[in-house]
Symmetry: C2
Subunit: 233 residues, 2 copies
């Protein structure tokens, strides 16, 4: 019943490399589970013992400085892959932001399976290369952008990654989009390398500029997407 056949990310996750019997074999070593908001799947610094595919929900990857401040180093969405296959310890924790459904594998099982299935490794490689590109773009943001550029960039990327899952584009005005944030203000600050106060101030600034509307804490209406893109620098 927990068959991959009904999996909503079946065609987008790395599993799309597999068919029939092979898919069934992968299915046999994995199991699905849900993760509650705030619950962690992997802890920073621990030996990497499990890997997973995200089926539903949003999770953060985060590291902490010695003095306890957090930096979110990645955000994963449905069909993304989580964990560190092939040895090593995880340099960051993985924690659910929303209720999430994931398909988990013990790392040993997954490593062995991957070795036997080059097509799966190939998909994983493509995904990892994409993730590396994304994280490098993020380094440009963290190193060189101002607070307002950071927030604007964040909202632009978020609206793209949430398409269909928490981001609605107005059919008549493609320039207008509604987002349901999976992040608290503090978490946005931790993504952008800012403080919560600065994030809050940038939100009100963008609202006053007429670029955003903020009906509630977790909802953002991008009233002028083009202007937001311009602001992103």
């Amino acid at each position: 019943m927990a068959s991959c056949d009904f999996c909503v990310v079946r065609n987008r996750a790395i599993c799309s490399a597999l068919e029939g019997a092979e898919l069934a074999a992968l299915n046999a070593i994995g199991r699905t589970r849900t993760v509650e908001p705030g619950e962690s799947l992997i802890w920073e610094g621990e030996d990497s013992i499990l890997v997973a595919n995200v089926i539903e929900g949003v999770l953060k990857l985060s590291s902490n400085t010695e003095d306890g401040r957090e930096q979110i180093v990645g955000v994963v969405y449905p069909s993304d892959f989580i964990g560190r296959p092939f040895g090593g310890t995880s340099g960051h924790g993985v924690t659910a932001l929303t209720e999430a459904k994931v398909c988990v594998f013990s790392r040993g099982d997954f490593d062995a399976f991957a070795h036997e299935h080059p097509a799966l490794e190939h998909k994983l490689l493509e995904r990892t290369l994409g993730e590396l590109d994304r994280s490098r773009r993020w380094m440009l943001l963290l190193g060189r952008k101002s607070a307002s550029q950071k927030l604007a960039s964040f909202l632009v990327e978020l609206s793209e990654r949430l398409s269909g899952n928490g981001c609605a584009i107005d059919a008549e005005k493609p320039n207008r989009r509604t987002i349901t944030l999976p992040f608290s203000r503090q978490q946005i600050a931790d993504v952008l390398g800012l403080t919560i106060e600065t994030v809050s101030r940038q939100f009100t600034q963008l609202k006053q500029d007429g670029i955003l509307e903020l009906p509630s804490r977790r909802e953002v209406i991008i009233a002028d997407f083009d202007a937001l893109v311009a602001e992103a620098g």
Copy 2:
């Protein structure tokens, strides 16, 4: 004559996945070339048309903001892999910092070859996962560390990556290391997301603290490695 048999990174680069005839086949589609300091191999935003292995030297991966400020998003050393296989455009340029020797492949050739050789793809996957880990550690640095922590972290990582190739450890005092920088002050600033003036001030501060000695612009003696690690936060 340009045989892989004599290649100094033969056992560390992704080529180590191959033997005999397969290695010869890879050799047949690649060629070695040298790149002068400041010369670019790949430009930001262009279609990814070539990939390469680094044999010798140090190169930077960099992106620019719209207003022309630069962020170095990665630094590659001998045995590292360069480029974006499997489609997509390169999000960053690749430019030599020192004179460098690389083994280049046209991307199309490499992609096709990789598809036929899972062991090679596996090596590339492991390397890419490692690079992703490194870039995420760098995000913590960019987002959450102070200028002095940034410079200290940078020097610590550099001394580790240059071991044997520009970093000498004093046999009697393992706490003392001599580095020949492949970076100008401006480039260090571009790595750390700082300005050249701030980098310069942090250098003089570390010198005054007795942690560094600066015999010349391109030489750094870490007089107290442990203290530097502590400073890195």
